[in-house]
Amino acid sequence: MKEGEPLINIDSRSSKPIYEQIIEKIKENIIKGILKPGDKLPSVRELASIITINPNTISKAYNELERMKAIEVIRGKGTFVVENFQPVMDEAKMREIKEHMKKIIIEAHYIGVDKDNLINIMNEIYSEF
């Protein structure tokens, strides 16, 4: 955790549930390398206090991340980013992703963005990580 770096910015206005936002932000931080494998995450209590979010919500996010095997809880020591991330295939999530992609493709079509442009955009985003 870099000193002074905004930990996680939660947008309470967003229609996306807070626990989902937390999950995403942590996943993003892991992918971007801000959180490295083996790094210690703040405890539920610490995080709740820093970003003033209900601890039950944070618990829920952590549980989900644990289920995804992105983080692990070591008894007595704390919560850590897993050393070797083994992505777990999630059928339901896959369907969701497909739905989202369909929507994006449709909307892109309506504003005149074709398949090649879309692929360029995807490459750009991948290069950020």
Partner: protein, 303 residues
């Protein structure tokens, strides 16, 4: 609603009358252990009266308020475990802070002076000042300080952040959240600062004219009330048709774009819109504050 928790606060069919006027009408609520319950409403809706019934200051005229299975009124035993932070100055103005400290220490069996001193490092309330010499922010912090030091199981706060600067507001919210995380405290909080409520509450209720108009988990509340930006192929009579849809509170048409606010949003709703000829649907983010305002507007219309 959060399922599977132990109900710690159970408010059943509570009505409260003061001077021939019903301030609370048939209120039903329950709060699970370890959760944070927020109650929001306009001024004069009955939040403070409800809280005073909860803390045993008022006795309900009808119905019952059970805290951990016992009636709260005139119950010294249960009040040992309840901390109450009022929205106004609740302490005798001529008492010194250290006299208040001693008073709390004698009154509450589980009062911890170590915790008091530990918290006071952050709060910095001078012990030798009299209550009347403290600023509003300091009075509130002193109240929270004392109430947390009694190691309560339940913390009841009536607009704890009103009139305070943003730094202290965040501090207070942080501390409340920390208590819940570390000691599984159950919190009942009323506030006008809906952004705070949004962030920290598990469940929320809206009270209007003494009645509970809505009670839901934060998540479900935000999932079911949505604002949509919709464009239709055919614009004839669209406004009327939209308004008649089940759950739609408000429809605003600006040019070709219709803004719809609905309180019963489901996936079917989107499908219905497509059936009606929608070509473009987008959900717009709505904060709890927006939701509250629309909700109250609708209730006002219905009265």
């Amino acid at each position: 609603m959060k399922w599977g928790g132990v109900i710690l606060i159970d408010i059943k069919n509570v009505s409260k009358r003061i001077d021939d006027r019903y301030i609370l009408k048939n209120v039903n609520l329950h709060v699970n252990k370890g959760s944070i319950f927020g109650i929001i409403g306009e001024n004069g809706a009955g939040k403070t009266t409800l809280i005073k019934c909860l803390t045993g200051i008022y006795r309900a005229n009808e119905g019952s308020i059970l805290i951990d299975g016992e009636e709260a009124f005139d119950n010294a035993k249960i009040k040992q475990k309840i901390g109450y932070v009022s929205d106004e100055n609740q302490f005798y103005s001529s008492f010194k802070v250290k006299e208040l400290l001693k008073f709390y220490k004698k009154a509450y069996n589980d009062f911890s002076e170590e915790r008091f001193n530990e918290l006071n490092i952050k709060f910095k309330i001078p012990l030798n000042l009299r209550v009347r010499e403290l600023s509003k922010g300091m009075k509130m912090r002193a109240s929270i300080l004392l109430n947390l030091s009694i190691k309560p199981d339940i913390l009841i706060l009536d607009e704890p952040t009103s009139g305070l600067d943003p730094v202290i507001k965040k501090e207070i919210m942080s501390i409340i959240v920390d208590e819940v995380a570390s000691r599984d405290v159950t919190v009942f909080i009323s506030s006008h600062h809906l952004d705070h409520i949004e962030r920290i509450c598990d469940n929320v209720a809206i009270i209007k004219n003494g009645e509970i108009k809505l009670m839901n988990s934060m998540e479900e509340a935000k999932n079911s009330m949505k604002k949509l930006q919709v464009v239709f192929k055919d614009t004839a009579d669209i406004n009327k048709n939209l308004s008649s849809l089940d759950g739609v509170i408000k429809v605003e048409t600006i040019g070709r774009v219709n803004y719809i606010v609905t309180k019963n949003y489901t996936k079917d709703f989107g499908k219905k819109l497509y059936d009606m000829g929608a070509v473009f649907i987008e959900t717009i983010d709505m904060s709890l504050e927006d939701m509250f305002i629309y909700f109250v507007e609708e209730e006002d219309k219905n009265e």
